[in-house]
């Protein structure tokens, strides 16, 4: 089907505010009389709070309020499992946990006041490693987590938050069928999302005592619900005002400091702004879970995988509160099966409490961890079997009708085509110089589900306004939605405007996340636009001029006091039977004298649906890929005894413009997605296979296998030395 607007490469038409500095992010919201909130954080990983004395801080000029746990309600908050206090009450469980909060006339005075709050701690035994935490007799991070609201039932140890399990066939029987069994263990690091906008929020009580909220949060309706609980107020008393979000990547869905900002606003009777310093982000944001993954695979002589068991221990930190999934776990655990048909499968993810930073969701939660293990493991098996790593993959790739780990049977499987496309574009078979290696890795990502309201209204000037409760986290989603409406109604893109609803307008919305927006927002907008189109036709018929302009039609209705508008609520509960495959090839050079890895070129192939905006689509691929590159090579929140030492972007390094490799992107079009005009999703498709592709390329280049991320020059160097020593 040929489209007019869908598939056209639109620049960021919605971006004038962003390039001129006019866009108001949460931290930019300034209200009359506004004051600043700052939090005092625990310096210890596990301790009893013996005494808090805020009297000297309260006496400082410019300080309006100091709150401790005694001054806020004794309740627990969370996105799914409610286990986190507003302020530490009797004990602190990680370095960076909030103990007190100050409101002052300026941010420097508020920070100064923190130094005057005296807290006496009695240090408790702490546990930092998830493997230690699940031993009998390990220090307990929480005494009775099963009692928390939202806590899953299964709990093999009091330090286990949750268990997520995927099962196919009979794994023990499967291993008995195998000729060879391979087992390897992998580790991935703690890593922050790296969004440049730290969490920010402004809370004001208006003249009707309603709570007005501006926050860097991508799920405004869920935020309203969570705030209603945290603030013990009916939802109607809370209004979330949508603002642009300065990068999300999974990290901007929690309450963060908002309940404290509210209590400061309540006490001071002033609007309160709380903006985290980047140091606080790195110390107490909600980063990607570190993992220890053990992969065990049974293979027949001819390279067919018959059984797999994958076990992931995720270091979840001191609270489960930041995880939004009903499982209170990471869905990426299912990626232990990779892109392969495996008849007997047992995949398990354990989220474990420790006295470290509480982790949350990050772009394709759990997948970069699992796929690093899984796709490295595949190459290690191929090597042991004396098989080409591509050939081992080919023999096991998913095909039409195969089941994923979650039991869903797939249609329109394009795994082989995607792999072939990546290999062809990367010159996989071409000879390469000494010290240069190539590595391949694959993955797949579902098309997200959720629910969204969209409202479309015909304006008297003949344009259409789309009203939506979804913020744009930077993906260009709003432009995609405008394209969908323009396509349906036969308008130009400029004739469709977008308007952001506050949480007063709609009943609910699942917000941004999980690769869902093009699908759910797109379908809501599509069906709303279809409804409006019918109304317009009916109206034209009534007027007796079927080819009347939209303006004429709208004006005619307006004269009768009517507005032509339509709302559609789209709710996708279960995943479609399709997925999106990714195949990537890294070509690297390894400097044998230093261990330094240079990515010479990178190829990424994607099996996609109808592309609505090619420019935005490509932007998602490129951005995710460079995040994957950072995760593979450099990004790490280094910790020792629960304390993070990389507390600035000078120490926690993100890739710069000079660290990006030449990139080839291949699009394998298929056009069978569940989104509008059969679109699929792309936001989380490019990040996960990058690290294993690079690890496999390093192994190819110099023979050393790095099984713990990031792949630093130092690790490669010492591994090379070890190998030299052995030979």
């Amino acid at each position: 089907m040929a489209h007019r607007i869908v598939g056209q490469r639109f620049g960021r038409l919605d971006g004038a505010d962003k390039v001129t500095g006019a866009a108001r992010y949460s931290a930019d919201v300034t209200l009359p009389g506004m004051v600043w909130g700052k939090a005092l954080r625990s310096p210890l990983p596990h301790a009893r709070i013996v005494r808090v004395d805020a009297s000297r801080a309260r006496a400082l000029p410019g300080v309006l309020a100091v709150l401790t746990a005694a001054d806020v309600p004794d309740l627990l908050v969370g996105r799914r499992m409610f286990d986190m206090p507003l302020l530490a009450r009797d004990r602190v469980r990680f370095v960076g946990e909030k103990v007190a909060v100050v409101a002052a006339l300026d941010p420097d005075v508020a920070e100064e006041a923190l130094a005057f709050i005296e807290v006496e701690y009695d240090e408790l035994p702490a546990v930092f490693d998830p493997a230690d935490a699940i031993q009998p007799g390990a220090p307990l991070v929480h005494e009775n987590p099963g009692a928390y609201h939202g806590a899953p039932a299964e709990r093999p140890h009091a330090n286990v938050q949750s268990v997520l399990r995927f099962k196919l066939g009979d794994v023990d029987a499967g291993f008995r069928e195998a000729d060879r069994v391979f087992e390897h263990t992998f580790r991935t690091q703690l890593a922050h999302h790296g969004y440049i906008e730290p969490h920010a929020g402004v809370i004001a009580l208006d003249e009707d005592e309603r709570v007005q909220v501006w926050a860097s949060n991508k799920m405004p309706y869920r935020l309203k619900e969570l705030l209603s609980h945290a603030l013990e107020l009916p939802p109607a008393r809370i209004r979330v005002n949508l603002t642009p979000i300065g990068g999300d990547f999974g990290g901007k869905g929690s309450l963060m400091d908002l309940p404290l900002a509210y209590h400061l606003a309540r006490v001071t009777r002033r609007p309160v702004k709380m903006v985290m310093r980047y140091t606080e982000e790195l110390m107490a944001g909600n980063p990607r879970h570190p993992s220890v993954v053990t992969m065990r695979t049974g293979v027949t002589k001819d390279g067919r995988i018959v059984a797999r068991r994958a076990t992931a221990l995720y270091n979840s930190g001191a609270y489960a509160a930041f995880k939004p999934a009903p499982s209170v776990n990471l869905g990426g655990t299912s990626m232990g099966a990779g892109v392969y048909r495996i008849p007997h499968l047992l995949l398990e993810g354990f989220c474990v409490y420790t006295n470290t930073i509480p982790c949350g969701h990050a772009r394709s939660p759990g997948e970069p961890q699992m796929l690093f293990a899984e796709e490295s493991h595949m190459d290690m098996i191929a090597k042991e079997l004396g098989l080409d790593p591509v050939e081992l993959r080919r023999r096991n790739l998913l095909r039409d009708g195969d089941a994923l780990a979650n039991g869903h049977h797939l249609e329109h499987v394009r795994a082989t085509e995607t792999l072939d496309a990546a290999l062809a574009a990367s010159d996989w078979a071409k000879p390469k110089p000494r010290g240069v290696g190539r590595g391949v890795a694959m993955g797949h990502r579902h098309i997200g589900v959720g629910f969204t309201n969209a409202q479309v209204r015909l304006e008297t000037k003949g344009t259409v306004t789309l009203t939506i409760g979804l913020p744009d986290t930077g993906t260009g989603a709003h432009l995609v939605l405008r394209q969908v409406v323009a396509e349906v109604l036969g308008l130009s893109i400029d004739e469709v405007q977008i308007e952001l609803a506050t949480t007063d307008l709609f009943e609910t919305d699942s917000g941004v996340g999980g690769s869902r927006v093009t699908h759910t927002g797109g379908r809501a907008a599509f069906h709303a636009a279809e409804k409006l189109k019918e109304q317009i036709h009916a109206e034209a018929t009534k007027l007796g001029t079927p080819d009347a302009s939209f303006a004429t039609i709208a004006q005619a209705a307006a004269r009768e006091g009517r507005t032509l508008e339509a709302v559609h609520f789209y709710d996708a509960k279960s995943h479609a039977a399709v997925t999106s495959f990714t195949a990537q090839v890294a070509e690297v050079a390894v400097d044998p004298a230093t261990g330094q890895v240079t990515v010479l070129r990178f190829t990424t192939a994607h099996d996609v649906g109808t592309i609505i905006n090619p420019l935005g689509h490509q932007g998602q691929i490129e951005g995710g890929l460079i995040q994957g590159l950072g995760f593979a090579l450099m990004e790490e929140l280094q910790t020792a005894e629960g304390r993070i030492s990389t507390l600035s972007l000078g120490d926690f390094k993100l890739p710069t413009i000079r660290d990006i490799p030449p990139l080839t992107t291949v699009i394998v079009e298929d056009a069978v997605g569940p989104g509008p005009f059969r679109a699929k999703a792309i936001g989380e498709g490019s990040i996960s296979p990058v690290a294993p592709a690079i690890a496999n390329a390093v192994a190819d280049a110099c023979g050393v296998r790095i099984v713990d991320l990031p792949i630093t020059a130092e690790k490669v160097y010492f591994a090379l030395q070890d190998r030299k020593g052995r030979s």
């Binding site: 910790t639 020792a640 130092e714």
Partner: protein, 163 residues
């Protein structure tokens, strides 16, 4: 598998200092248990006074370039076993302006040596809060230097009073 043993920067620093002091066990022990006197061997100590039999209060100033720490806190003698020549102490101190502080556990072990008495000092130092957040490598190096000078001072002090 790759990776060198001590790849990460730690917040916790452990040192062992060892030296032989040319005095007999009992005199050395008595000197070392005189906390204010020993305290004055720590470079930068401003004051140190007994609060009771096992708790002492004091102030230590440390400069690292533009960073000025004024650490106020306590030293608690947790164990003092004279016959065994073994003592354990805990020090906790905070800098109010910077926000943050240090916690240290020290254990002292005396044992006979050819030319006097061997002293072994094991220190486990944690640097917390603002100080620990940014100045880690600096503070670590500084703590090492302070402890070095302390041992030198103890030696020269005892050498001076040794007949």
């Amino acid at each position: 598998m790759g990776g060198s043993p001590s790849r990460r920067a730690s917040f916790r620093v452990t040192f062992t200092q060892e030296c032989v002091i040319p005095v007999e066990h009992e005199r050395l022990w008595n000197f070392l248990m005189d906390v204010p006197a020993v305290g004055r061997c720590v470079p930068g100590v401003q004051t140190i006074e007994a609060v009771n039999g096992s708790v002492y209060e004091g102030e230590l100033k440390v400069h690292v370039g533009p960073i000025r720490l004024a650490l106020e806190g306590t030293i608690t003698v947790e164990e003092a076993d004279a016959p065994a020549g073994r003592a354990r102490m805990r020090a906790e101190a905070n800098d109010r302006r910077l926000g943050g502080g240090i916690r240290a556990r020290m254990s002292l072990t005396l044992s006979p040596a050819d030319a006097g008495t061997r002293v072994q000092i094991d220190t486990d130092l944690a640097v917390l809060g603002k100080i620990g957040e940014f100045g880690q490598p600096v503070i670590k190096k500084k703590a090492d230097a302070i402890l070095d000078e302390f041992v030198r001072n103890v030696r020269s002090h005892l050498a001076a009073v040794t007949p």
